[in-house]
């Protein structure tokens, strides 16, 4: 089960509200490479994994991504603090505001609502881990792009932290794939799917 801790993994303290930044950072909440998709991908993939290392890794990284989800939400919440209708229009957040006011809703920056179609649970050890490696890279690039667009130091500290976590997770998933492949038939690692074939 999950137990809530009343704290964030890394502090979010944004001094200056800025709805224009919230408009694109929301993508790491509910976009195609965002933290909601990341946590659902890993926490869902773990059930078919046959090896303890991968059950542990997907559980621990999936749980951490839930923590990142609430950090991104905190960034959005603070960037949209005490907005006036004038500021909302000037920032271009009006199209979001009309549907969600100053609430935090899982959507991509493009306006497309969060969808499970941006993740996969293939039920195959090698395919799922390769998806996870790609997912970490895509999330890393999204943070790179946010850092290119944002000049707020309070926001960028949080984005740099979250970006670095993607690099660490990439390393761990790569190691998980190594450990899994070492348990497979060394003459032909594609002979069977150990998550299904007995």
């Amino acid at each position: 089960m999950f137990v809530y801790e009343k704290k964030l993994q890394y502090p979010v303290k944004i001094k200056n509200p800025n709805p224009a930044l919230a408009k694109f950072i929301i993508s790491q909440y509910g976009g195609p490479d965002g933290e909601l998709g990341a946590s659902m991908r890993y926490l869902s993939q773990r059930y078919s994994m046959p090896y303890a290392e991968l059950k542990g890794l997907l559980t621990d990284i999936g749980t951490e991504e839930l923590g990142h989800l609430e950090m991104v939400a905190a960034v959005i919440h603070q960037l949209t603090r005490e907005m006036t209708p004038e500021e909302i229009k000037r920032a271009g957040l009006d199209t979001y505001f009309v549907d969600h006011t100053a609430g935090v809703y899982p959507t991509a920056a493009s306006g497309f609502p969060w969808t499970a179609a941006s993740l996969q649970v293939k039920g195959d050890v090698i395919a799922d881990l390769n998806e996870d490696l790609a997912a970490e890279q895509k999330a890393r690039v999204t943070y790179d792009n946010i850092l290119r667009l944002s000049d707020d130091p309070d926001v960028n500290n949080v984005m740099r932290y979250l970006r670095e976590r993607e690099v660490v997770h990439y390393q761990r998933f790569g190691e998980g794939l190594r450990l899994a492949m070492e348990k497979m038939d060394q003459r032909n690692i594609y002979a069977i799917n150990p998550a299904f074939d007995r």
């Binding site: 137990v3 809530y4 801790e5 009343k6 704290k7 964030l8 993994q9 890394y10 502090p11 979010v12 303290k13 944004i14 001094k15 290392e53 542990g56 890794l57 621990d60 990284i61 951490e64 609430e70 939400a73 905190a74 919440h77 603070q78 603090r81 005490e82 090698i126 390769n130 490696l133 943070y143 790179d144 850092l147 500290n157 740099r160 932290y161 979250l162 970006r163 670095e164 976590r165 690099v167 660490v168 997770h169 990439y170 390393q171 761990r172 998933f173 790569g174 190691e175 998980g176 794939l177 190594r178 450990l179 492949m181 070492e182 060394q186 690692i189 594609y190």
Partner: protein, 147 residues
Amino acid sequence: MNKTLRENAYRYGNLPDPAPLAAAYVPMQKSSEPTYESEKALARGTLFPGLDLPFMNLVNDELASTPLTEMMAIDFVTDEMELYLDTHADDDEAFALYQTFLALKQEARERYVRRCGAVRQEDMLGMQEFAWLKDPWPWDYSPRMGG
């Protein structure tokens, strides 16, 4: 190994020899050493200098030390060590470090709870009031609140 490689050996992991074809390979991290101090680790987003690969080489400064950031830093180290142990379960040195930080984690949370309020349900054991509803909630911040 050339000189630079040797000097930065902690940055380079090992690959299998020979490696099967048609497979993606990430080198195994060889050791949990060296590590950053816990507060630097939290600021940088990793405990391990070998994995610290920042965008445009810009990095975060360390956070001002408060009971909250002390607790966060130690929790961060235990979480980072747990991920390392998921793929290095037989690394005794890493497991010993994990144990050390698990003990510190307990102390750091108790310090924070005494000053600032409950983090988890069990923190409320013996409290005089239902402190769960006490501000601040983690996502709320405005410069007026200070901290």
